[in-house]
Symmetry: C2
Subunit: 300 residues, 2 copies
């Protein structure tokens, strides 16, 4: 089942205690698509400026990702983000954000995109996410991400979105902020009661939590000793998760749980190098091998 | 198989964002013993002052815990700790510590204690822990806890201890400090290479990690929506873990993994109320029911 993702396409500058990289391929839609491409066909919707290197598009297309939905804005500049990770490699500070063309991102979906069945609304304003929802009337599974900025400045629109999507993926700090509760278990349930059928809270190096009406569970992160750059881990998680669901073509509780595990495993590779370097170095059997190891790890 | 524990016996004052308690029963040996008593007979070694309420001893003995190894120091005062939890209920600050009689704690084990086979060296100085090790020549499983203070001021003695114990249990911050590595996976392996056959890193609300020569795994915390007071969670975890091992009388990899799960589950009850209030309200089938739920949670 083809998977549609809408989100940011970016050039990232990443600083860590041991190394740094400038102008590397990044953005929520990029990490999501690459991760999902191990599982199912993916179509990306995004926007870039004239400074966007054609090599990046070719790199994504070589994975079979449909990039026809990436619009290049004449005279525009691509979204840029610069961040620095603290020594624990889990917390980070944003040093610079230049929204550039992403600030005016109002995607118009073409006929090849409007019939999408599985849709992921990556990081963008709730207004933008809602306008995309309006353009995918046949979607059977819609999942959104969000961030603290939108919780703070577009809360009403976000609440409207939450009543319309099937699932929400957000990180622990965002869940606490949105639910106004420091206990993540209560926060997850509270966010679910705002509308979505299920909520996934991403906890970075501590894994992820799942909440639906009848289920709640936690999955730890896969413990890799090699954490070079956590950028994109959350979007890779979502990509692995949605990719698996789109491949199955269903999203019953068992499928969702497996999908979360695939999300955890996909993200565990992403953090092992900068940008998409590590994901670009593996093949699908690597994901399945690590998933089997992870399954064994959780069995007692 | 009887289980011996040596550690602190304390009166705690606990402040949380929503409630506080003064002079409640606490201390590493107390939480450990009570938790372990769900699984196996326990003998406690500790020291208290004349201010120690006899009711506390009766409370422990009513659980079948052998308190004959608790020495009352004439004219002395019991160890006291006062702490305050931050709103996230995972991090805390220590407001006051009065070691009192615990500062001079040099346990002399009697004949009923020297033949212990399963021994847990709760929080005490490595020098004290080593002196206890010398007094249990027949021990088949010795596991120690430690804390940042000893890593900082008695590192040599701690390293001697690490070469002599079978297992070490410590929290994430302590593991990073001891290994001088911010990556917990690498830190766990590094600490294990200092001597113990296995190392368990406690991550509070994020669960625990296990390291041996051939195995490494992570277990999430059981996600309880009710976190009233995390004090003693780590010691309850160790108590559940060691209690299960002592009950089995073995500590092969499968037993250790089950033991860690029991530790997680026991600690999940401890945090649901102040002091030992929650553990005192449950029976063994409650632990087994939650363990079964936890096992299911981790299966996909």
């Amino acid at each position: 089942m083809p998977l549609l993702v809408v989100g940011s396409v970016a050039l990232d500058c990443v600083e860590t205690p041991t190394a740094s990289r400038d102008d590397v391929l990044g953005g929520s839609a990029v990490f999501f698509s690459y991760a999902a491409s191990f599982f199912s066909p993916v179509k990306m919707i995004g926007t870039v400026g004239e400074d966007w290197p054609a090599a990046h598009t070719r790199f994504l297309e070589a994975r079979g990702i449909d990039t026809s939905g990436i619009e290049t804005i004449p005279g525009g500049k691509t979204f840029r983000w610069r961040g620095r990770y603290l020594p624990n490699m889990n917390d980070r500070e944003t040093l610079e954000v230049h929204l550039n063309v992403f600030g005016e991102f109002r995607p118009k979906l073409g006929p090849g995109h409007r019939d999408a069945k599985f849709v992921f609304l990556g990081n963008a304003s709730p207004v933008t996410q809602l306008s995309v929802l309006d353009q995918v009337p046949e979607a059977s599974l819609t999942v959104a991400d969000t961030m603290d900025l939108w919780i703070n400045i577009q809360r009403d629109e976000l609440e409207t979105l939450l009543r319309r999507v099937d699932g929400l993926v957000l990180n622990d700090a965002e869940a606490k902020l949105l639910a106004e509760d420091e206990n993540l278990v209560r926060a997850g349930h509270a966010v679910r009661e705002m509308g979505p059928n299920f909520v996934v809270i991403k906890k970075g190096e501590h894994g992820a939590m799942f909440f639906s009406e009848h289920e709640m569970y936690v999955m730890p992160a896969y413990p890799t000793p090699r954490v070079l750059d956590p950028t994109g881990a959350g979007d890779s998680f979502a990509g692995g998760m949605m990719g698996h669901l789109a491949a199955l073509g269903r999203f019953d509780p068992q499928a969702l749980k497996e999908a979360l595990a695939y999300g955890v495993i996909t993200a565990s590779f992403t953090v092992e190098d900068f940008s998409l370097d590590r994901l670009a170095s593996i093949v699908r059997p690597d994901l399945d091998r690590r998933l089997a190891e992870y399954r064994q790890m959780l069995m007692f």
